[in-house]
């Protein structure tokens, strides 16, 4: 019998639905403000999405393995503050590895709790969000961090430089995406991440060491956060200690928008990149249309819910839940 059943059409719509909705948005925004599709604006959006995007890459691993990471926002604040502070104390050459080491320690701790102690990742990373925020406050003494001599250092190259005409943050984002994408799709580790997220029991019964895989995913997330912190610090050469606050939800929204299931076992780096861009353009569009900054929060809320709803509706074949 030719043609697709209703369920098939539903699934197709769901998968492409996000792209269709996005296309509608683009048209809408462009009509509202012609600046929207100007090369300058596009470049600006991509560049400012890069930092969020780098974080989203790491979180993709965590989500595919079946967990969450709500600590990335405050962890990024931590990284930014630490590298700025150490820059003036021990010079950029040492500050950067030191910051990476410290951030990775935080990630390792979380990975230990969720991977080896098997604690609930939502609660643990929510708690760490608070703990790391406290840590950042203590470290910075509550003050903002600024690099004293902004001209006399090469540190700015990460956040402000360009290479081959492309701003470095975008380059870093794309290269990291390519690198991590290859790891996820082509290496044994990547295969194991999908297995652990898809069916942790079956993965264990196949000899995969689930605790180690989960642990490493959190390390990757922390490493990406460290890169994001570096880009951010280098871009503004000074920062408040709440710079990353709230980013965890944007990151989650981007990952979900890209189609990764929060139950684990599915998603790809490429889809996350798309999700990051979609989110970036929507937020930008809202601003250009003249809406207040905080409207973004409300829009992100709606996006998260709609995206997850569409995903599960497609899986069960029905739009509405069958809760009586």
């Amino acid at each position: 019998m030719a043609g697709m059943s209703k369920a098939d059409i539903g699934k197709l719509l769901a998968r492409q639905g996000i792209l269709i909705a996005f296309a509608v948005f683009i048209i809408g925004f462009t009509l509202a403000n012609e600046r929207f599709l100007s090369p300058d604006n596009i470049m600006g959006v991509v560049r400012s999405s890069a930092i969020l995007g780098v974080m989203a890459l790491g979180v993709t691993f965590v989500v595919i393995s079946g967990n969450l990471d709500l600590s990335v926002g405050s962890m990024m604040s931590f990284s930014t503050i630490v590298v700025l502070d150490l820059h003036d104390k021990i010079g950029p050459g040492l500050a950067i590895p030191a910051m990476f080491a410290m951030t990775l320690c935080l990630g390792a701790f979380i990975g230990f709790l969720v991977g080896y102690l098997k604690l609930n990742s939502l609660i643990v990373t929510l708690g760490m969000l608070s703990a790391i925020h406290g840590l950042t406050l203590t470290y910075s003494g509550g003050k903002n961090m600024d690099i004293a001599d902004k001209e006399g250092t090469w540190f700015a190259v990460f956040g402000q430089g360009t290479a081959l005409g492309i701003p470095v943050p975008i380059l870093v984002f794309l290269l990291l995406a390519a690198f991590l994408g290859i790891i996820l799709t082509k290496t044994p580790f990547g295969r194991k991440v999908y297995a652990v997220g898809g069916n942790a029991t079956a993965a264990t019964f196949s000899g995969i060491r689930r605790p180690r895989v989960v642990f490493l995913c959190y390390l990757m997330s922390a490493a990406c956060v460290a890169v994001a912190g570096l880009l951010q610090a280098s871009r503004s050469m000074g920062s408040q200690n709440t710079v990353g606050q709230g980013m965890e939800l944007d990151v989650l929204a981007a990952v979900i928008l890209g189609g990764a299931s929060l139950l684990g076992g599915s998603g790809t780096i490429f889809k996350t990149v798309i999700g990051v861009l979609i989110l970036g353009f929507i937020q930008n569009g809202l601003l250009l249309v003249g809406l207040q900054f905080y409207v973004q929060f409300v829009v992100t809320w709606v996006i998260i819910i709609l995206a997850v709803w569409i995903d599960i509706a497609a899986k069960r074949g029905k739009l509405w839940s069958n809760i009586a």
Binding site: L119, I123, G134, L249, I323
Partner: protein, 333 residues
């Protein structure tokens, strides 16, 4: 089956034992380390403890019900803040100008209504879309907070009504107003969970949803009502707190959900649902407040307090895992 017995026993008894241990520890340690002259277990101090437990405590009671039902609500902090904003701001609205002090109950009603409506939004979304409560409320945590900021930007919203402040600061029969609200809420909802069909059904739904559905229990309305309850309580908590303080910052209440969940889990409610008790939650709230107070009493700073509480949360989560092995020895997965 033995594990169930042990865990219930441990959990219901443990939290009170823990509180007693804290009281003893801080009283003794306070003798040596405290900066002030007063003893830790001073009557005024303890009364203050109860009062300070009210904001988190009132919400925690609601969270217990939601978690027993098998859900969770991460947006309580944002509901708290938005209700506070409505409370204080509405007292300055021109339409109420002629009411004089009668604007107070009206503003209270509006604030509580805000909580109920926000809770209902969460409840309806969880019910009708089937999206898991933690995602729905995670998004709401952001969305509702956005509404708070949209109100007045980053500025605080304030209004002082001295009649209200006097009421809020008063003490009846030795207990503060806030404490009375806490006790009232605890009492009413303990009764609801223990002695009403709605409460017993909540346990059933959280414990074995399929069995509940097959028995004809309608899960959707229960979810909706419980979210409305916690929305109401988050608003009530704001009303109780801000009646006295008179000024709310848009960032207020941030991470309240974390403290509330910590207290609820510490009190023995299972993260997976189907088990828990309002009284034990009260114990959990008091235990945490006591910890905060006690550590402050012996000179620890806020960061140390947060660290200790964080460690306790981890310990409780571990214990929760260990004691929830249903009878059979588990596999080493």
């Amino acid at each position: 089956m033995r594990a169930g017995n042990l865990s219930t026993l441990l959990k219901s008894g443990a939290i009170w034992g823990f509180i007693i241990a804290e009281l003893i520890f801080f009283s003794v340690a306070g003798e040596f380390l405290s900066l002030s002259d007063k003893a830790f277990m001073d009557v005024d101090n303890m009364l203050l403890l109860l009062k300070q437990s009210a904001p988190i405590g009132i919400i925690a009671v609601g969270m217990t019900i939601v978690m027993i039902n098998g859900n969770i609500d991460l947006s309580v902090g944002a509901i708290f803040a938005l209700s506070a904003v409505i409370l204080l701001d509405s007292m300055t609205w021109p339409i109420f100008a002629s009411l004089g002090n009668w604007v107070i109950p009206v503003s209270w009603a509006l604030a509580l209504l805000t909580g109920v409506v926000l809770g209902a939004i969460n409840g309806v979304i969880v019910w009708k879309t089937g999206v898991d409560a933690f995602i729905v409320t995670l998004g709401a945590m952001l969305g509702f907070r956005g509404l708070v900021f949209m109100f007045n930007g980053e500025n605080p919203t304030s209004h002082l009504n001295w009649a209200l402040v006097d009421f809020a600061e008063a003490q009846f029969l030795g207990l503060h107003t806030a404490t009375w609200f806490l006790l009232l809420v605890t009492g009413v909802l303990w009764y609801v969970m223990r002695h009403t069909v709605h409460g017993r059904n909540a346990y059933a739904i959280g414990d074995n949803r399929e069995a509940a559905v097959n028995a004809g229990i309608r899960v959707g309305p229960h979810i909706l009502i419980n979210f409305m309850i916690i929305g109401f309580l988050a608003a009530l908590s704001a009303v109780v707190f801000y009646s006295e303080s008179g000024s709310v910052n848009p960032n207020d209440g941030q991470l309240y959900e974390l403290w509330v969940i910590t207290a609820v889990v510490l009190g023995g409610t299972k993260l997976t649902g189907g088990a828990g008790s309002i009284l034990s939650t009260l114990g959990g709230v008091l235990a945490i407040q006591l910890l905060r107070k006690g550590l402050g009493h012996i000179g620890a700073d806020t960061e140390t307090v947060n660290l200790v509480i964080g460690l306790i949360l981890i310990a409780v989560l571990l214990l929760d895992r260990q004691l929830n092995i249903k009878g059979k020895e588990a596999l080493k997965t």
